[in-house]
Symmetry: C2
Subunit: 369 residues, 2 copies
């Protein structure tokens, strides 16, 4: 292999594909990045951890076609630190020579035969989606997925496209997040993607500044996202997702309209005193015209009063502060609605008049003292 | 104790004094911050780890004088997150109540009797020094001090004030840094201050934006720095410092003028390949018109050519890349002078025509292969 390309384009591509490199793998080839010459003077960079594969193509002058796998850490660091100039890359018997300006590196590469191919797919469906809407929906839901690898589909986000709307759902047994946006589509689809991978996708979508839409391709077991010159392939999570609509309470005995920022700051301060503890327990007392947040630990106690608009009966209810804070951080609305029934049933958080998001948070049982 | 003060002033003061809180101490009172009412409606905040003590005074409305010690972490976090408003602090039997807007915290305090007093001094000398010069000199030397606590005075920086100049010296056995600036003083002094503490002093001096000079007071065993409303007291390191002037080579067989940035970037790239290894060894080959930097490891090898101006004989010499990089980062000059004798004697780094800094770096013995 013998090619020439621009340092900036190469560094940017490596920065993107590096996100798929597995840091904990014991399989040496997965710590590498594949370089492969393509048609029409292009160079493909690719990395994969077997769950996700990221490829990016950049313009290059191909003098001799070929492919090789190089150490992702070393190669990325070298390219990042090279001057903004033309980079020559030459591979001979897996020894890779990188020349740029007055720098010359020779690094040990690996044969590309064993590099995993995750990208071959049998296209079942292909749709185009709005990047900003998709990013917002990831931000509003992915934090609610379980981080416990043994929880199967609960580590993922359910993505449902219907004729008139796109929904994302994530839940971990303590809270649930639903985001729904109006989109018009002539197709319907349903898939579960790992929340961890969706967060990486969110970052990559943000880096592609010039693109408004991206392409989503589905096969039996994989989803492919194509944006600009980047192609992300992810395995789908297999299994049945919980019938989430059933667990949303239909009625409430208490409805509160609150300023999101005031409530968030109050809860944030109240949790300072219990942060060292395990359960992060704060107590909300819903009263006419205000929510009083209290918490106590051996370090002391705190009382925060947040003015709100209340309808219905008051109640006292306990929460893990983190679960409420996560929700309040994930939405941008100035005002939100909290709905309660009893202090052992979930609290519902929604915007005032829209279906853009619905959060369900399970309370922590409190013992009155 | 019962006082009122502004949240912004209190948060800023806590941010400064927090730097003296010992994170690893087993003495509970040292994890605290002392609050003490003073005269003329002032509140003093103080923290100490027995080596350094930082105090800062802020305006406050004193309704009832008193003092108390509170948890530094918790109190600082609470104050930082309070709204920008008036804060009321009330202490009764070491229970401290903090009220601001609609927040009310009660935290457990401690009696202030046991809080260490490091600040009482017998003033021997008092001088005024230029803040920016002092900061620059710390930046240019402190990194060369030893970080090994068992090395005594070598963990410190020697500060020498003479009639016409101020010098700072730090060395750890592998490299030495000397910084010298012209200042006129009618006093002379000599002291050794911990490099770790000097770095904290550097930060605090940077935060005091409105002050140009600071006061340095010396007693037998302590140095006090006063800037604005902040007072830093530090123990001096006791012991004799090495006669550093003797180890500076007087002659050289090879003199190189190099662009600092080019050299730094070349060494930085060359060290990428050996970073995982232990000795970080790079080889410099000084040739007419250029320095060729090479390094190799099992990951590969690298060759960097840096154009320079050379006088005298060439040589091949090995270095720990970190020691050269530290030096090149610490000076701001565009061009620097490197002087060599043999590949087993120290390399001298200086600016072209000034005594502003002198660095000495011991080479690593290389075996030719």
């Amino acid at each position: 292999m013998k090619i020439k390309c621009e340092q900036q384009a190469l560094a940017k591509a490596l920065n993107t594909v590096y996100k798929a490199v597995s840091t904990r793998t014991t399989i040496p080839i997965l710590k590498g990045i594949l370089m492969e010459t393509g048609e029409n003077n292009t160079l493909k960079l690719a990395a994969s951890d077997l769950d996700i594969s990221i490829e990016r193509t950049i313009p290059a002058q191909i003098e001799e076609p070929g492919s090789v796998v190089v150490s992702s850490r070393l190669f990325t660091e070298i390219v990042r630190k090279l001057p903004d100039d033309e980079v020559q890359i030459r591979e001979e018997n897996t020894a890779v020579t990188i020349t740029c300006h007055s720098s010359k590196f020779t690094i040990v590469g690996q044969m590309s035969d064993e590099f995993p191919v995750l990208t071959e797919i049998q296209e079942l469906q292909r749709i185009s989606l709005d990047k900003e809407i998709f990013k917002k929906m990831i931000r509003r839901t992915s934090f609610s997925a379980s981080t416990d690898e043994s929880r199967g589909v609960l580590t993922g986000v359910l993505i449902e496209l219907q004729k008139d709307s796109l929904s994302m759902v994530a839940l971990d047994g303590f809270r649930m997040a639903i985001s729904r946006e109006m989109v018009s589509s002539d197709k319907e689809l349903k898939m579960i993607l790992s929340a961890r991978i969706l967060n990486e996708i969110n970052k990559i979508l943000s880096e592609e500044e010039n693109e408004e839409d991206f392409i989503l391709i589905l096969d039996e077991k994989k989803a492919v996202i194509i944006i600009g010159n980047t192609r992300i392939t992810s395995r789908l999570l297999e299994g049945d997702y919980i019938n989430y609509k059933e667990i949303i309470p239909k009625i409430s005995s208490c409805r509160v309209r609150a300023g999101r920022r005031d409530l968030m700051e109050g809860i944030d301060r109240a949790s300072l005193i219990v942060r060292e503890g395990k359960n992060n327990l704060i107590k909300l007392s819903v009263q006419p015209g205000q929510i009083v947040i209290t918490s106590r630990s051996e370090e002391g106690n705190v009382k925060e009063e947040v003015p709100v608009h209340t309808e219905g009966e008051g109640l006292e209810i306990g929460f893990n502060a983190k679960y409420i804070t996560d929700v309040l951080k994930a939405c941008e609305e100035e005002e939100i609605i909290l709905e309660f029934n009893t202090n052992v049933t979930p609290c519902l958080v929604t915007p005032e008049q829209s279906e853009a998001f619905t959060y369900l948070i399970l309370p922590v049982r409190i013992t009155s003292n």
